[in-house]
Each structure stands twice: as structure tokens, then as C-alpha cells.
């Protein structure tokens, strides 16, 4: 047939129609099948949803959650309204639990390394035939020279991991990239507490915060967001609370503060002591506070007088522009607002942590701020720092701190020297999180005789180096418990139950059960006398039942266990924190004697900027970087998603010829990374902000599929400076140079998604309206 032009058009039209019709009418294969289960499991009722109480393990704060399960599939995570810390509320991170559960890149089962170390090639093996057998053999061979590296674990997992390590002769270390050791040490030194305190924001009048981004990532943000809401507009409050935030970077907490005070990085302690000086000098302290005892006599008073506002304003960089007038008068007014109103308007709280504690003098900064709570009588008071009891079981840890940078350095040396011959990893990624200069990756790769086992359910930069993968279940499939740290002022034990079983194509095994089986196999089972992790938890629940107190009233241990799982935990409001009537004598003097200014190794002088890394609002330090929702959640302040952005002051950046979207090089004495410039008016001119969590090199494409210019790991260029005292990484103690690379990309951000519509008056004030306090 001769194909004329007319016919061609007709046939072309026809085939287009056909293509559309085929797509439109097609029904996906299998869609018309209705499957019925073989047996009738309790939780598989078609078309009906069940809600199970459990715990979220995406971040250390560990919220109580309810999970909606339909037809054996988890659908939605929500806050558990009964759980004392979050009371039904949740963070963006909690929601992504279902994505971890159904993640396309989960390790399907036990695997052994295929190619060279770090090549990422793994071959599937049988759990019992090879996986467990290898683990046991290696434990027998190398157990006494092994290191078990986990996240800071508390509750029964903490007990089990340390007992296991003890039994096989290994060392147990906790690790997290952005740790809170400085805050923990300060809590110990200033309040004499082993567990973290809660801040009773609901009943506070004034919050003075130093560097702690408690609304976004710091320790227990959901609980404190809940408090913050009440602090601002709670029912029955006589007036709105006031929040002042001291931070060198414009964090989410700074964005919500009534006044943001961007002083020179690392001088938070000096400002805190200056406030203390005004309080003491003008006798503004709460009734009954023995200032002389805190100062430890005249020497202390003389020391404190060095922190007169007029002496420190220059040093801490409190300019008249920042203070909105005379800086000295500003500090005095701040001290008045903080201290003097306590009698009339309600308590004040000073909170310090985060970047304030991440300098070489971080412990001084945090302690100096924490001591303010003693001066205004907030320690242990309503609306103040609520001290917490420890957990309900004697031997179960209710709090745990992370390994210091010294410890990690020692571990790396041991790996290099061959002293450590076995490394067991569970949900930690130190290769990504440690400063690049420590080069853990090189130590592992070049070690002569090292066996690495990873129990993580996902490939990350450290797990990719493993010889053996024995993937753990994700938390929605597993048992567990938690003792919240901080607790809400009374004793709480949260319980986690499996809400679904692993999918048919996945074969993970519960990490604690694997440890128990491995201990049995290694012949040390008698030191871990539990048949399973679930049995261990149930034993402890029975012990709680026998104490006959708290929130659950049950007739038998089984009834208690059921009620416990239904509610997601147990709590006893009558067991509150200890009563600490007064600070140790000479506390303030001791803090002042330890005063120092921050040191910055590496670059200095003209043209260098302070590097302010910060924990990402949703992917945190990078351990959640594989979850697409969390990558796609815009940063609250910049609205950037997916990319690693570099926060620069708009005016100074333009002066350097940097525009938004330009790829800039950030260089410290330890190396350089690239990132996407994001210009804004809120970054101090001498600061550059970069989020942690980018630049993952191995694992899920959601974490790794961007080029190095758009996703980079700021930990690589951090100076390995230590915080004096806890010896943690002083991650805010780096100075950098920045330069444009000449490249430029489109910033993936929400800002600008919505085109502004001309409706006459669409200035910001017309959209976000404001009203003066007392005017409504």
C-alpha cells in the first residue's frame, strides 16, 4: 500500500488514539485478584484499621507513637496521646517511620562481602547456615579484641548490649555524630544529676536560650515544641512568655525568638556571666538564694565583677546594632527581665547547649548559662528546670552518653595498630559523622586483619565497609523499650511492640535476639539469661507489675503486659525528680575559674569566616538521609530541600560576587567541600552556616544521588578540636575561607514555588499580621 500524506496523518492519529486508549483502559496486572490469607491472624482484618501503640526510634528523643495498620501494612504514624513526653504530638521525623519500613533499599537478608572492602558488593547468604555461624566463629576468635559500636542506648537494649560485650570480652562504645555530652556534663556539674532535666516551658515566663535549637533538633524537640505553644498562648496564662535566643546562627529557635542575639561564636558563657553579675550586683536573685555560698566568698565576687556588662560587651561582640541601643543597658535590662520579674510574672529558664557547647570552651558556656537557673530559683521549681528520677529498674540504664572524640580517636588507633580486630556496628555511621581528618574509612580499609559486622538495616558509609551484614529489623517490626531522657518530671518507661511483620521478600532478624543467639553460640549464654528480647522485656514488665504502682492497674502480670502494650508504656507520676535544695558551695566560682575563650585551630585572621554547622531539621546528622520524605521536607528557615546549602549573609556575599545558587567552595585547614549558596539577611556577616547530614556516599539513592557540589558532608572539614572537659568534638570551632567556583545550579527550595499574585497589598505584613502584646 502506498502511504500517502493523508493516510499517514490518519494512521498517525489512529495510533495515538490507540496508545491513549490502551493506557486508559488497561488494568494493572493482578489488580483484579483478591487474595485471602491462609489463616486468620488477629491483626489482619480487611478494610479495618488497627492502631498499635509503639515507640519511634528515628531520633534519640523517642516519641510514643500510634501506628495505623491495615491488612498487615503500616499506613501512618501518629503521636500517642497517652505518652507523657509528646502527648499525641509528633515531629516530621516520626512520620517517616513507615518509609524506613517499606524502604526500597533495605538490606534483604544476611549477606557477606563480595568484592574488595568498600566496593559495596555483597552476596546473600543463609542466616543460620553461614551468617550466625560466621558471627559466632569470629566472636570466638576475636571477641576479646572486639568493639561493639551502637547509638547511645538506654533501656533494655543498653543493658543487653553492655552485658553482651562483657560476656564476649568486647568493648561497648556509644557513638553519635552530634552528641550532647557537654550538656550532660554540665547537668552533672551544675545540678548534680545523672539524667537530663526537663524544662517546664508551659509554666515559664521568660526563656533565655544559648545556642540550643530546642524547637528543631536539640534533645527532645517535640516535647519542647508542645511546651513552647503553651508558653506563648496557653489557655489560662495571664500573659505571653518571652523568648530570647543567643546564637551565632539564625536557627529555627532564633527565628521564633522575640529577640535574637547574634554574639561572637563561643562567647555565650561570658554573656551568661554578665547577666549573672547584674543579678548579683543589683540583688535581683530569687528569695532564699545564697549568692555568697555560690560565689564562695570575696574571690568569687571579684571574679564575677570582671563580667560587668561594660567589660564584656566589646569582647562578645554585642554591638549597639544588635542590642538596639546601648549594649550595657541591654544586658542590664535582660538581667532585669530574666530575674526581677520572677516574683510578679512567673519563673525564668536558662537553656544552653547545641552550638554554645560545641566550642573548645563549650562546657564553660553551658555551665555559666545553667547556673543562672540557680540564681533565679528555677531549679526544681514549677516553670523551671524540672529534675528527673532515673528509670524504674535498678540495673537498666536510663541515660547514656556518647563516646568522646578522644575515645573514637583511640578506637581508630587501635584499628590501625591491629589491636582491635573486630568491629560490630549497629545503626551508627562514624565514617560519615567523624571529622574527615580522623579518616576512619582509611583505618578500616587498610587494617591488616579486621573483621567488620554490621547489624544496620541500611547500607551507609560505614556499613558498606563490613564483611558481614546481619540486618536488624526496623523498629516498627521489633520489640523494644525506652526510658525517656529527659523524662517529663516523673518516672516513665515506654514500650515498643512490632506492629507488622517484615515483608515476604525481606529477612531481617532482631538485633537483640541475634546478640542472644550469638552469646549462646559462643558459649557465654549463661551470662545473658534471657530466652529472647521479648522475654527479657516481659520479665521486666512483670517486675513492674509486682511493684504495684503507677498508671496501670492490672489483676495479673499478663493483664499488665497487655495494658502496657496497648498504652505504649507505663508511668508513675508520684515518682518525681530528686529535691536539690541548693547548689554546691562555690559553684559559680568554680565555673568562673574554668572560664576560657574559644580557640579556633587552623585558619584565622582576615577573610576567614566562622563555620556554623548545624543538625538538619529532618535528616539530622545524616542518619535519616535515606528517607525521601525527610529529604524533601524544606528546611524551616531557608526552605531548601535535598541539597546541602551554604547560608551566607546577602550583603557580604554579594560583595564577594556570590549569588544564590552559586556553587561555593568552603575550605578549612582540613580540606574543602562544595555547597549551594543560599543568601539571606539573617546570617551574620562573619558566619557561614552549613547543615550536617549531606554528602553520604553509599547506600540508598535518596541519600546519595546528588553530585558532590550539591550534597556534601560538612564533618569532613571540621577541625578536630575538643571541648575541654567532656572531650567531645567542638563542631562549632572551625574557621573557613569561602570562594565561588564559577558553577551555578538551580536551588531546590520551596521559596518561590508559589508565584506572588498581585492582589493589591500582598506585602508580608498583609499576610502575616502582627499585634502588640496586651492589645488583644
Amino acid at each position: 500500500m502506498k502511504l500517502s500524506r493523508r493516510h499517514f496523518l490518519a494512521w498517525a492519529g489512529l495510533s495515538a488514539v490507540g496508545a491513549v486508549a490502551c493506557e486508559g483502559f488497561g488494568i494493572r496486572e493482578g489488580e483484579l485478584n483478591i487474595q485471602s490469607p491462609v489463616s486468620l491472624p488477629e491483626d489482619l482484618v480487611r478494610g479495618k484499621d488497627n492502631w498499635y501503640a509503639s515507640l519511634c526510634r528515628n531520633c534519640p528523643s523517642c516519641e510514643g507513637i500510634l501506628v495505623r495498620v491495615m491488612e498487615g501494612r503500616a499506613k501512618k504514624v501518629q503521636g500517642n496521646p497517652l505518652y507523657p513526653t509528646n502527648q499525641g504530638k509528633s515531629h516530621a521525623r516520626c512520620e517517616a517511620g513507615v518509609q524506613a519500613l517499606y524502604h526500597p533499599d533495605r538490606i534483604p537478608g544476611a549477606m557477606r562481602r563480595g568484592g574488595n572492602r568498600g566496593s559495596g558488593q555483597f552476596d546473600q547468604i543463609g542466616w543460620d547456615s553461614e551468617g550466625m555461624e560466621t558471627l559466632v566463629r569470629q566472636l570466638n576468635d576475636r571477641g576479646s579484641r572486639a568493639v561493639l559500636l551502637t547509638k547511645p542506648t538506654r533501656g533494655h537494649l543498653g543493658l543487653l548490649t553492655s552485658r553482651f560485650a562483657q560476656a564476649v570480652g568486647a568493648e561497648h562504645m556509644n557513638y553519635e555524630a552530634v552528641d550532647n555530652n557537654t550538656f550532660r556534663t554540665a547537668v552533672k556539674n551544675v545540678y548534680d544529676q545523672d539524667v537530663l532535666p526537663d524544662f517546664d516551658m508551659e509554666n515559664a515566663n521568660f526563656i533565655l536560650s544559648f545556642g540550643a535549637d530546642f524547637l528543631s533538633t536539640w534533645i527532645s524537640p517535640t516535647r519542647w515544641n508542645r511546651g513552647y505553644g503553651e508558653f506563648r498562648q496557653g489557655e489560662g496564662r495571664s500573659h505571653r512568655g518571652t523568648l530570647y535566643h543567643v546564637d551565632s546562627r539564625f536557627s529555627m529557635t532564633a527565628a521564633n525568638a522575640d529577640k535574637w542575639i547574634p554574639i561572637r561564636p563561643g562567647y555565650e558563657g561570658h554573656l551568661a556571666l554578665s547577666v549573672a553579675q547584674v543579678i548579683v550586683d543589683e540583688n535581683l536573685q530569687a528569695r532564699g538564694v545564697d549568692v555568697d555560698a555560690m560565689l564562695g566568698g570575696d574571690t568569687g565576687r571579684a571574679l564575677l565583677n570582671d563580667y560587668r556588662p561594660e567589660n564584656v560587651v566589646g569582647q562578645i561582640g554585642l554591638t549597639p546594632e544588635i542590642a538596639g541601643g546601648d549594649p550595657v543597658a541591654f544586658i542590664k535590662k535582660l538581667a532585669h527581665d530574666f530575674a526581677a520579674d520572677v516574683q510578679t510574672r512567673g519563673p525564668s529558664i536558662a537553656i544552653a547547649g547545641g552550638s554554645a557547647g560545641a566550642h573548645s570552651n563549650g562546657l564553660f558556656n553551658v555551665e555559666a548559662a545553667a547556673v543562672l537557673n540557680w540564681l533565679v530559683g528555677s531549679v526544681g521549681a514549677e516553670g523551671g528546670v524540672r529534675l528527673n528520677p532515673s528509670g524504674p529498674w535498678q540495673d537498666v540504664p536510663s541515660s547514656s552518653s556518647s563516646a568522646s572524640l578522644d575515645d573514637m580517636g583511640r578506637l581508630i588507633d587501635q584499628i590501625r595498630s591491629g589491636e582491635t580486630r573486630m568491629l560490630m556496628l549497629h545503626n551508627v555511621d562514624p565514617v560519615h559523622g567523624l571529622p574527615g581528618s580522623l579518616d576512619l574509612e582509611d583505618a578500616i580499609v587498610s587494617a591488616q586483619d579486621l573483621f567488620v559486622v554490621s547489624f544496620s538495616p541500611f547500607i551507609d558509609d560505614t556499613t558498606v565497609l563490613a564483611d558481614l551484614l546481619l540486618p536488624d529489623r526496623v523498629y516498627l517490626e521489633d520489640w523494644g523499650d525506652d526510658i525517656p531522657d529527659p523524662a517529663p518530671g516523673y518516672q516513665v518507661a515506654g514500650f515498643q511492640q512490632p506492629v507488622v511483620n517484615p515483608l515476604w521478600d525481606l529477612d531481617p532478624r532482631s538485633f537483640p535476639d541475634v546478640l542472644l543467639a550469638a552469646a549462646d553460640g559462643a558459649g557465654v549464654g549463661e551470662q545473658l539469661p534471657w530466652s529472647s528480647y521479648q522475654a527479657m522485656l516481659k520479665d521486666s514488665a512483670t517486675a513492674l507489675f509486682e511493684e504495684n504502682r503507677g498508671s496501670i492497674d492490672a489483676g495479673s502480670a499478663d493483664e499488665f503486659w497487655t495494658a502496657l502494650l496497648r498504652r505504649g508504656g507505663w508511668w508513675d507520676e508520684s515518682v518525681t525528680g530528686p529535691d536539690v535544695p541548693r547548689p554546691r558551695a562555690g559553684l559559680l566560682r568554680r565555673i568562673m575559674e574554668g572560664a576560657s575563650t574559644p580557640t579556633f585551630a587552623g585558619f584565622g585572621g582576615e577573610g576567614t569566616l566562622y563555620l556554623a554547622p548545624f543538625s538538619h531539621n529532618t535528616v539530622q546528622d545524616g542518619e535519616l538521609a535515606h528517607l525521601p520524605w525527610l529529604q524533601a521536607t524544606p528546611d524551616p528557615v531557608t526552605s531548601v530541600a535535598w541539597q546541602t546549602w551554604v547560608e551566607l549573609n546577602d550583603i557580604t556575599a554579594e560583595r564577594r560576587g556570590i549569588r544564590e545558587g552559586d556553587i561555593v567552595r568552603i575550605e578549612s585547614s582540613q580540606g574543602s567541600i562544595r555547597g549551594v549558596a543560599y543568601l539571606n539577611p539573617a546570617t551574620p556577616p562573619e558566619v557561614v552556616g552549613v547543615p550536617f547530614g549531606g554528602g553520604r556516599r553509599h547506600g540508598s539513592p535518596y541519600a546519595t544521588d546528588r553530585p558532590a557540589s550539591e550534597s556534601s558532608n560538612v564533618a569532613n572539614i571540621l577541625e578536630p578540636t575538643r571541648v575541654a572537659g567532656p572531650q567531645s568534638l567542638a563542631w562549632a570551632g572551625t574557621r573557613v575561607r569561602i570562594s565561588p567556583t564559577g558553577e551555578s545550579v538551580n536551588v531546590s527550595k520551596l521559596e518561590g514555588n508559589v508565584r506572588s499574585v498581585e492582589v493589591g497589598l500582598s506585602a508580608a505584613e498583609e499576610i502575616i499580621k502582627t499585634v502588640a502584646p496586651g492589645n488583644y
Binding site: 496523518l9 490518519a10 488514539v17 483502559f25 485471602s36 490469607p37 489463616s39 482484618v45 480487611r46 479495618k48
Partner: protein, 207 residues
């Protein structure tokens, strides 16, 4: 006048469209196609179970009085009876042996769907059964009730009677075929909702 070439082109496209639609329909199965429903993996006669042995609908379709979906029973549930009953004739014995085999293999049975609801529609079996079986409708007030054809229902119905309003007399069907008996289009739903004075807002059914 439209040039002949354009007219011819349009004509070809229209005829082509119709041909393609018919072609696809002919070879595809209900609810959209004209072919027969594909055979069920096990020849399950409703007649034997319902007519002869008087098993109630809700005995097997357990969730029908409890939630959205009527649900097909778990294989375990078939075994309640078929552990002991193995069939009176050769054909029945073969089919029942299949059920027992599925159970022994711990495999679910891939039943073919007969009544299919589009993805954007929410239908709650339980609510409809409650409406027709209750003494006075769903609320406190009493009033008239009408079935899907608009004829008045006197008194309250049994569950089986309620099911047959839409599904027809399934008990007498050797093999259930779609569109046998009642048309289940959106108009049918709306007519029934209107005549019974129940909500007709889009969001009641569409999700």
C-alpha cells in the same frame, strides 16, 4: 466546505477509535470489557453452600457487618468444614482437594474479583446493612425505606435480603458473574441515596 482530505482524516480517526475500543473491549474482561469473567481458581458453587446448606452470607464474608469490605474468607475458614467434608462427587472432590492443598501449602487463593469498585470510591458494606436491617433505619426517627429499584421495603430486612438488593440472588448462582442482575453505576447509587433521603454529597462516597 471541509476539504475532503481533512474530512477523510477525521472520519478515519473516529472509526479507528471505535475499532480500537471495540478491539480492546472484546478481548478484555469485565467490568470494562465484553468478555467473560476469568474463571475462578476453584469452582466455588454458591448454590451448594447457600441454597442447600443454608450458610449465611456473613458467615464467610465475615467483615460485611463490621467494616468497609465484605472480605473473602481466609483459607483456614474454608477448612472449618472442609477438613471433614470432601465432596459427594468426583468434581466436587477435585475442587475441595484444591482448597485443602492451598491450606497445606500455606498459600492464599487468588480469587478473581467479580465486583470491582473504582479506586476513588468508598463503599462501606456495614453501613448499608445496618440501614436495611435495623428496626428504624440508622437514626432515631422512623420512616420509609426503599430498595435499589425504588420499591418500598417493609419492615427490616435480614442480612441476606440486604445483600441481594445489590448483588442479586447469589445463593442461586452456580458461578457469580458481574452485571448479572443489578447494574451498579454511580447513578444507581445516587438514585437509591436520593429516594432514601440519605446524604448525596460527593465526599460521602468519593475519596
Amino acid at each position: 466546505m471541509i476539504p475532503l482530505m481533512v474530512a477523510g482524516g477525521i472520519f478515519t480517526v473516529i472509526v479507528g477509535f471505535v475499532v480500537v475500543v471495540l478491539f480492546i473491549s472484546w478481548f478484555s474482561n469485565p467490568p470494562f470489557g465484553l468478555g467473560n469473567a476469568s474463571a475462578q481458581p476453584i469452582a466455588f458453587p454458591h448454590t451448594v453452600h447457600v441454597e442447600e446448606n443454608n450458610i449465611q452470607c456473613e458467615f464467610c464474608h465475615r467483615n460485611v457487618t463490621k467494616g468497609d469490605a465484605a472480605t473473602v474468607p481466609a483459607v483456614e475458614q474454608c477448612l472449618f468444614c472442609h477438613k471433614d467434608i470432601s465432596g459427594r462427587d468426583g468434581q466436587a472432590q477435585t475442587e475441595i482437594a484444591k482448597v485443602q492443598q492451598y491450606f497445606a501449602d500455606e498459600e492464599p487463593i487468588d480469587w478473581e474479583r467479580v465486583h470491582r469498585l473504582p479506586d476513588h470510591v468508598r463503599f462501606i458494606h456495614e453501613a448499608h446493612i445496618r440501614f436495611f436491617t435495623s428496626e428504624t433505619g440508622t437514626g432515631g426517627a422512623s420512616g420509609q425505606r426503599f430498595d435499589i429499584n425504588g420499591s418500598e421495603v417493609s419492615g427490616s430486612l435480614s442480612i441476606t435480603q440486604t445483600c441481594s438488593i445489590c448483588h442479586g440472588d447469589v445463593g442461586s448462582m452456580e458461578e457469580v458473574q458481574p452485571k448479572e442482575g443489578q447494574s451498579l453505576k454511580m447513578g444507581t447509587c445516587l438514585d437509591c441515596h436520593r429516594v432514601n433521603n440519605v446524604p448525596t454529597d460527593c465526599t460521602i462516597c468519593h475519596k
